[in-house]
């Protein structure tokens, strides 16, 4: 098991294996996302209360869900960086932070546009929206901190500490709608219960969540490859890859 763990930490091994997976991730991701979006926009029935404005859910929930999952993945990688000093973990954190930032922004933006016709306001300082805004600032802070420190190793550690400190925000986002009074409604999907929407609504939603997940996987791979190439350009395998095109 430890051997596998060490192999996983090898940038060269990762580069080779991710190149093989990436086309599949991208194709299936786009396919699933488009299926979910088209189904949700054109074929799912409208909501009895909100009418058609609820169709924003088919991108709002995937982006909000991914914004939080990406942060949890980053926090796990940060733990690995701090404890095992694995290079690839730090590469992952650096590669996906901008993706997390964009996803969080999209979740907030789509939420605001959805809030206007349903609640009657773009923004309200309730616990859910505020904690989500803090997540946006956390992503921004991680990027800024990384840019501020020149030395690669100290940057990796400082970023890992910040990411781990910020992880307390994730349960706050998740449970804000249950612990406090908020304008935002509780979660439609719960692990233990049936979703509180019919199948013709939650199946397309699930498709777009899965699709965005796979597209994130592709984005993570390609961005990690970029980071690995620029860090390892002195090694022989990178030279061979750049000049001959294979790993």
């Amino acid at each position: 098991m430890w051997q596998f763990f060490h192999k996983l930490g090898s940038p060269k091994w990762f580069f080779g294996i991710s190149t093989r997976f990436m086309p599949w991730l991208l194709m299936s991701g786009i396919l699933l996302l488009m299926a979910g979006v088209v189904w949700g926009l054109a074929f799912a029935p409208k909501d009895y209360l909100q009418g058609n404005s609820y169709r924003i859910i088919f991108i709002h929930v995937p982006t909000a869900f991914m914004a939080q999952s990406v942060y949890i993945m980053m926090a796990s990688a940060a733990l690995v960086t701090l404890v095992w000093r694995m290079k690839l973990a730090d590469v992952f954190v650096k590669a996906v932070t901008p993706v997390g930032l964009v996803l969080t922004f999209l979740a907030l933006f789509t939420g605001a546009v959805w809030g206007k016709p349903t609640w009657g306001t773009w923004w309200i300082w309730d616990a859910r929206l505020t904690s989500m805004l803090i997540l946006l600032f956390l992503y921004g802070g991680v990027i800024a901190l990384d840019r501020a420190i020149n030395d690669e190793k100290s940057a990796a550690r400082a970023v890992a500490v910040l990411v781990l400190v910020g992880v307390v925000n994730i349960p706050i986002i998740k449970y804000s709608v249950e612990w406090w009074n908020t304008l935002h409604q509780p979660a439609t999907f719960k692990l233990t219960e049936k979703p509180s929407m019919p199948a013709e609504m939650w199946v397309p939603l699930l498709l777009s969540v899965l699709g965005l997940y796979l597209i994130f996987g592709w984005l993570a791979c390609i961005r990690m490859q970029t980071e690995i190439l620029s860090r390892e350009q002195r090694t022989r395998w990178v030279k061979e890859f750049v000049m001959k095109g294979k790993v």
Binding site: S53, I56, V113, T226
Partner: protein
């Protein structure tokens, strides 16, 4: 189909601007993110290639006078 006509689909009973604005911003940002990632990977590869070519040129220039030396000097890569 949940709509009777294409016009109904676009207007979404008055919610059209909200729904379409969301989807437009979503797709634009996702495409920018994806295209940007591909481009920065290509740019990194290109800058590496230029670096290696520059190094190769330098080493051949440095190696050129030594060819006139009579001693067998073998260029072995040290990395």
């Amino acid at each position: 189909m949940a709509f009777d006509s294409f016009a109904a689909f676009v207007s979404m009973e008055g919610h059209g601007p909200y729904v379409w604005a969301c989807y437009a911003v979503f797709f634009v940002l996702m495409i920018v993110l994806m295209a940007g990632s591909v481009r920065s990977r290509d740019a990194t590869i290109e800058s590496c290639r230029r670096r290696y070519e520059l190094q190769a040129e330098k080493s051949t220039v440095a190696a050129a006078p030594t060819t006139s030396a009579s001693f067998a000097r073998v260029n072995v890569s040290q990395d």
